[in-house]
């Protein structure tokens, strides 16, 4: 066991478990590391498909029951002819569910073919709505990140990888303990629209991405605490294995290796040594 590891007796078991993991490398250090993630909110305009609403249905049914003049429909509903709720008639006309005509100075309505289809729920209404889309972003891998799914899962070809690990995201600004951390370098202020759309559509199967509302994105720094296992070869070259430990996930099972993160951290510390 190297000197450094000796200073951290709590990692003794880890040392024993992983000391021989890499041929030609000696396990030289084990430490806790905070890796950067982002908690983001971005307003997304998405297309929805819905049945017609209850009020539209009531008006259509009333017309269908042969009450066709604006005056009589309003009387039946108990509202004034210019009541604030009469905007719904405009909605029906605009969506071509009814057509209006003036007979003897009175507005009359007739249900269209489409109107009947909507009434019978054979047709759905398309509209846009703005959704505040909350998502997590992996700063190092610059990719979307679902904390319920293992970080390596998407790139791992084996499908038997566990799903519900649920990573613990901590608010970086409130972490006061001094442990090694990699700074947040890649704030996701501009995300590739196609990637965003794909991820959004995955998260909201009932909605379809239309566009970003604006360029604006709210991004807050978050960190996940991992275990970094340092190996050194005879030339002094270091490589790091990033593994889950109790502070990383809600349900801890074993110290799974996070391959992609390991590669990134190794590259990072090669550029900016500890």
């Amino acid at each position: 066991m190297s000197k450094t590891v000796e200073f951290n007796p709590k990692y003794k078991n880890i040392f024993n478990q992983f000391k021989d993991n890499h041929i030609e490398y000696e396990l030289t250090n084990i430490f806790e590391i905070l890796l950067p993630f982002w908690e983001c909110t971005k307003n997304i305009v998405a297309e929805t498909e819905t049945d017609i609403d209850r009020f539209s249905q009531i008006i259509l049914q009333t017309i269908d029951a042969n009450i066709t003049s604006h005056k009589e429909i309003c009387a039946f509903l108990g509202i004034k002819e210019e009541s604030f709720v009469t905007v719904q008639f405009h909605f029906l006309i605009k969506n071509e569910m009814i057509v209006e005509s003036i007979i003897d100075n009175e507005t009359h309505y007739k249900i269209t073919y489409d109107g009947k289809a909507f009434l019978q729920k054979k047709k759905k209404l398309k509209s846009l709505e703005t959704i505040p889309f909350r998502f997590k972003y992996n700063d190092m891998l610059q990719s979307f990140f679902n904390p319920d799914i293992a970080i390596d899962q998407e790139r791992d070809k084996k499908k038997n990888l566990k799903k519900a690990t649920e990573y613990k995201l901590l608010e970086t600004r409130r972490l006061d303990y001094k442990i090694i951390e990699i700074k947040h370098n890649n704030k996701p202020y501009k995300i590739n629209t196609l990637e965003l759309a794909t991820f959004f559509n995955q998260q909201y199967p009932n909605l379809s991405f239309f566009d970003e509302e604006t360029n604006k994105i709210e991004a807050h720094r978050r960190s996940i605490s991992f275990l970094a296992i340092e190996y050194t070869d005879v030339m002094g070259v270091k490589r790091y294995d990033i593994r889950r430990h109790k502070k990383t996930v809600h349900k801890f099972d074993k110290n799974d290796l996070e391959e992609n993160l390991s590669k990134y951290v190794t590259g990072y510390f090669a550029k900016f040594p500890l």
């Binding site: 249905q57 049914q61 909605f91 003036i102 846009l128 566009d211």
Partner: protein
């Protein structure tokens, strides 16, 4: 046509056909507008009305880049025309010289509209206007109107629209690219050509799927700034790669804004930049390059492009030739500082205004419970609870007990942590139940603080209002300059008004005989954007406000008006007077308890439920009236309604139906005896009741269910009832709020978070009692208005700065830091400051008016008030116009001196009027002196005198409670200590002739005792004013030197004022404090006048 609405037609810009025209027009203040008029034949009128209401109204007053702003939509009854008013722009016109930039601007506007579910426009050359910098589309929302009048131009319509389909946004893409086709003809750029080809695809589906995509492509075709020289840019090596897209955009278009302050150590110029997608900060290095904080790149802030300048140079890491940008930035920085100096006066005012709420907030926060902890653990018994170990020696356990009982939340570093579950004094621990933060997120040591967000929210809103005001992030930014620096306002809005014609236009006939009231209304309508009305006591402020509201709505039936004040009572006073009119209003308040009884049915919460009840009632009545069946059939119908309920309830089944059947009469039972299931029952009903009726019953049931869900907040299982106008879906409560003309709310409540979804943009904000509000309180509603009318009276009580001495101290320190003096700065309200400045600035003198006839007080008292407090400008009513005035103001006491002579302030001649002011002097009493306790000043002698007066008055009005309007009495004392003494010693219910029964059946006295502050805005028939202060030797009069208090106290009287005090003391021994800011001893002058008029006696009896 010469006029339309309130606008003067200048010339015809476009004659579409005999019904539709576009005009150049002018408003009364000389601003120019473009107005589209639509004269509808009867059969089209309703359709036009519907389109304008639903398509245009919602866009009114909204600033959408690339779209010509809609100012007003209305109907002119005289001309029988609908009209849409657009913001003018004389330098805008259509020409062939269109650019990609112009196209992008318009597409961005359409993109904005599409994201709000709006699309399908009239797009043709006459719908586009542009100048060198800007292009904008007009007539948005009017496609159906142009279609109705066969005015669509096929040349620009998408093929599918020509084929008869409704246009969608891809049809708009086709039309707009068609309109800009001239660009592609001479651009010789393959990328642009391909963009146009796709946009102009014959098949809708082949065109762009959203605007964002095509805008991005077009932006990429814009040529980057090409300069031989560029500014050298440096970023940290590790960010160089990720910074490249930012650099690329910086070279396309980059706004720069320099900060006023240099960096502290290196004295470097710093600034911010903004491109289309990115924003960041930079430092200018003395060696001639800029250093960018590449790790802190964010989205662009709009203020940079609004207030900054466009960089004339490109940027590069290693330019072939790079300029030494130091001089360039130095010149720009100097300009920035010059501007900053100009704004200094403005900033200093705002700093002052902001200090008060900021300090009030700090004070509450400082007072809040705090406890330092040294350790935090997860509870062993429940892992969602956290155990905090407090510092040793913590003593404030009593407060913890209170916080636990009151379920107060605690916070750490501004983050809520939870409520106290338990505490243990022995182990110095405190347990937080179901903590909102995880143990990792909680600092190891820190401080637990009581959450006082609710208590501080009103101050927070005021500070926010000040900040918005500084940033001009308000509905009408022009107001920021006028209010902050009225002394610098140049000439504006000087227009001649038709005062004489207006006499015939007023709604309230009383205004015909009151010039200043009438003028105030007319001027408030035209002297925009700010108008001040000084309303001395009883001069009809509320009358003026009500008339103003009626006149605004007459001119713009869709106008949105906020009636506001610092107090709920003042808001209700106006709304109560609106009740008999047809004006739609809604009252917003934090709780129903704060609203007057008569207004409650119009509150945000009650109005909708009343509407629902009424709607259901009318609907029920309608359906009943349609059924003309016999009595027995009606029984069947009644059973049908119950059946529908059983059927709709999923928990009930056919057995429930059978049970229901058992209790029906034999006639009804006969039909269903053999029915085995619901299906068979339905068949029988259909056969027995007319199908239409049964159908309608079932629709009605669905409608009622919809209505009943109107106020239920949506949750997972239940959807709230919503309505939809084709673009947005909103709940009924918000829809109802949006449909009302007038909203009444206090100036703080209107900023409440519960209305966050509603974009308040009022045409007029009318604020009553403005002189009683602090500047920060004033700013909250001012920020929401296009035009402001402030009503107040700076000769009455000023705003209460703060009641806490600790806050005063804090303000003093903060202001002294900036060389400001608290007494001087807060001695006057914003209203007073403005009115005094407006009086001095000839450009603003037309924007103020003092209402100068008082109708509350009898003439002797009115004269006294005018002479002493209003420089003799306040007049009594002309008794040739109101011959019964003296009779109406008669107090009914048979005085031995029925009339008093005095010099009339208007005619300067001696006149005689009924005696209405008397003084009961205690000078001859054994000990007329007060207790000389400056913390709780009281005077026993005066108390006894008041008791005697009340007893005598009670005797003099034996039939008071049986009168149509029984007399009321207000006893006002100058000092809180005396009020306490009077309240303790006088049992008001003892004066039986002043006891009445209130609507709740409780006995209530018509006599009130209170301080003057509590009486502002109120009035009583008889006012007894207790001076309290008296001493054996000479002494300072104390805070009675503030004549505004005396003014308010005396002017509350409608019929009689009785002053009680030691007249000898006031006349001979009382002096003004030499340090007092008031130069005149008004009380002394008044007592001297009363002595001269011979109305000072030792006892009331002497005068009877």
């Amino acid at each position: 046509m010469n006029t339309i609405g309130e606008f003067l037609i200048i010339q015809n810009l476009k004659h579409f056909n005999n019904e539709i025209n576009l005009w150049l027009a002018e408003s009364s203040d000389g601003s120019s507008f473009e107005i589209l008029t639509i004269k509808s034949e009867t059969h089209k009128k309703q359709q036009v009305e519907r389109i304008l209401k639903n398509e245009i109204q919602f866009l009114s007053k909204k600033d959408i880049p690339g779209i010509q702003k809609i100012v007003q939509v209305d109907f002119d009854e005289t001309q029988d025309h609908h009209f849409v008013v657009y913001e003018g722009g004389s330098n805008f016109e259509y020409s062939d010289e269109l650019s990609i930039e112009n196209l992008i601007q318009v597409l961005k506007g359409l993109d904005h509209l599409k994201k709000g579910n709006r699309f399908g426009y009239y797009i043709a050359p006459d719908a586009l206007s542009h100048n060198l910098d800007e292009a904008r589309l007009r007539f948005v929302g009017l496609y159906d109107v142009f279609k109705l009048y066969n005015l669509l131009d096929n040349q620009y319509l998408a093929p599918e629209v020509i084929d008869g389909n409704k246009p969608n946004f891809q049809s708009d893409i086709y039309s707009i690219f068609n309109l800009f086709k001239s660009i592609v003809e001479d651009c010789n750029n393959e990328t642009i050509e391909s963009i146009f080809t796709k946009a102009l695809s014959k098949q809708r589906i082949e065109r762009y799927r959203n605007y964002g995509e095509v805008i991005l492509l077009l932006e990429q075709t814009l040529k980057p700034i090409r300069n031989n020289t560029a500014i050298k840019i440096i970023v940290k090596d590790e960010y160089r790669e990720s910074f490249k897209p930012v650099l690329e955009e910086m070279n396309r278009s980059c706004f720069l804004k320099l900060n006023e302050q240099l960096t502290k150590e290196k004295r470097q110029i710093t600034g911010q930049f903004a491109t289309g997608n990115y924003g960041g900060r930079f430092f200018v290095n003395g060696e001639g390059y800029i250093f960018v904080l590449a790790n802190k790149i964010s989205t662009p802030h709009h203020t940079i492009s609004e207030n900054g300048f466009l960089s004339p140079y490109g940027f590069s890491f290693e330019p072939l030739q790079y300029m030494n940008c130091f001089d360039f930035f130095k010149i720009n920085w100097q300009e920035t500082n010059q501007l900053a100096r100009l704004n200094k006066a403005k900033s200093s005012n705002l700093k002052k205004w902001q200090t008060l709420p900021k300090m009030e907030r700090e004070f509450i926060e400082e007072k809040a419970f705090k406890a330092k902890y040294t350790k935090c653990n997860v509870s062993k018994t429940n892992n969602t609870n956290l155990v905090f170990t407090l510092t040793k020696g913590f003593k404030n356990w009593e407060q913890i007990k209170v916080l636990k009982r009151n379920e107060v939340k605690l916070i750490i570093d501004d983050n809520e942590i939870g409520k106290i579950h338990d505490y243990n004094q022995g182990t110095d621990t405190l347990i937080i139940k179901d903590a909102y933060l995880t143990i990792e997120e909680i600092p190891k040591t820190g401080e637990l603080i009581e959450d006082v967000k609710i208590e501080t929210s009103q101050y927070k809103k005021q500070v926010e209002a000040c900040e918005k005001f500084v940033n001009r992030d308000v509905v009408n930014p022009d107001l920021c300059t006028i209010l902050a620096t009225p002394e610098n306002v140049p000439e504006f809005n000087h227009i001649p008004l038709e005062y004489q014609d207006f006499e015939n236009e007023v709604f309230n006939p009383y205004l015909k005989t009151d010039d200043t009231q009438r003028e105030a209304v007319l001027e408030a309508l035209h002297r925009k954007p700010i108008y001040l009305i000084q309303g001395p006591p009883g001069t009809g402020k509320t009358t003026v406000i009500v008339e103003l509201i009626q006149q605004i709505i007459k001119r713009n039936s869709n106008a949105k008006i906020l009636v506001t004040s610092q107090s709920n009572l003042a808001v209700d006073n106006v709304l109560e007077r609106l009740l008999p009119t047809d004006i739609l209003f809604m009252r917003l308040a934090a709780s129903e308890d704060r609203i007057s009884e008569s207004i409650k049915e119009h509150s945000f919460y009650t109005k909708l439920s009343n509407w629902v009840t009424n709607t259901q009632k009318l609907s029920e009545q309608y359906l009943d009236s349609q059924i003309t069946t016999s009595k027995v059939d009606k029984a069947l119908l009644k059973f049908y309604k119950s059946y529908l309920n059983v059927k709709a309830d999923k928990k009930r089944d056919f057995n429930d139906f059978q049970n229901l059947l058992k209790i029906q009469n034999r006639y009804v039972k006969g039909f269903f005896e053999n029915a085995k299931n619901f299906k068979e029952v339905d068949k029988i009903f259909d056969a027995q009741i007319q199908t239409k009726t049964s159908k309608l019953q079932s629709i009605k049931q669905e409608w009622f269910a919809f209505l009943n869900n109107a106020q239920t907040p949506a949750d997972k299982n239940k959807k709230q009832s919503m309505i939809n106008n084709g673009s947005e879906e909103i709940d009924l409560q918000t829809a109802l709020l949006k449909s009302t003309n007038v909203i009444g709310a206090t100036c703080i409540h209107i900023a409440s978070g519960q209305y966050n979804d509603i974009d308040f943009n009022f045409d007029y904000v009318i604020m009553d009692e403005s002189s009683k509000a602090t500047p920060a309180e004033n700013l909250v509603p001012i920020n929401m208005g296009q035009n402001i009318v402030l009503i107040g009276d700076h000769k009455q009580l000023p705003p209460v700065i703060t009641r806490e001495n600790a806050v005063k101290k804090k303000i003093k320190i903060e202001l002294e830091d900036d060389g400001l003096d608290m007494e001087k700065e807060y001695g006057e309200s914003l209203f007073e400051k403005l009115i005094l400045e407006f009086e001095q600035n000839p450009n603003l003198q037309n924007n103020i008016k003092m209402l100068d006839i008082q109708y509350r007080m009898p003439r002797q008292l009115g004269n006294l008030i005018s002479k002493n407090f209003y420089k003799e400008k306040l007049k009594n009513p002309d008794i040739t116009i109101l011959p019964d005035y003296d009779q109406d103001k008669n107090h009914g006491l048979k005085l031995s001196k029925p009339n008093t002579k005095f010099i009339d302030v208007v005619t300067k001649k001696e006149i005689e009027a009924p005696t209405s002011v008397i003084m009961i002097s205690t000078s001859n009493a054994e000990s007329p002196y007060d207790n000389d306790n400056k913390f709780k000043r009281s005077n026993n002698c005066n108390k006894d005198a008041i008791k005697q007066i009340l007893a005598e008055i009670n005797k003099q009005y034996p039939n008071n409670i049986n009168e149509e309007e029984p007399k009321t009495i207000g006893v006002i004392a100058g000092y809180r200590g005396q009020v306490e003494l009077l309240e303790k010693s006088i049992d008001v219910k003892k004066y039986k002739n002043f006891n009445t029964i209130n609507p709740n059946g409780r006995k209530e006295s018509l006599i009130d005792i209170n301080t003057v502050d509590k009486f502002q805005g109120a009035e009583r028939d008889i006012i007894i004013y207790d001076i309290v202060k008296s001493s054996k030797g000479k002494s300072n009069i104390g805070f009675l030197d503030d004549y505004r208090r005396i003014n308010v106290a005396f002017s509350r009287a409608k019929k009689l004022l009785i002053i009680v005090g030691d007249s000898e003391y006031i006349l001979k021994r009382a002096t003004l404090n030499p340090k007092s800011k008031f130069e005149e001893f008004k009380l002394k002058t008044i007592v001297a006048d009363l002595q001269q008029q011979g109305v000072i006696v030792n006892q009331l009896k002497e005068l009877l």
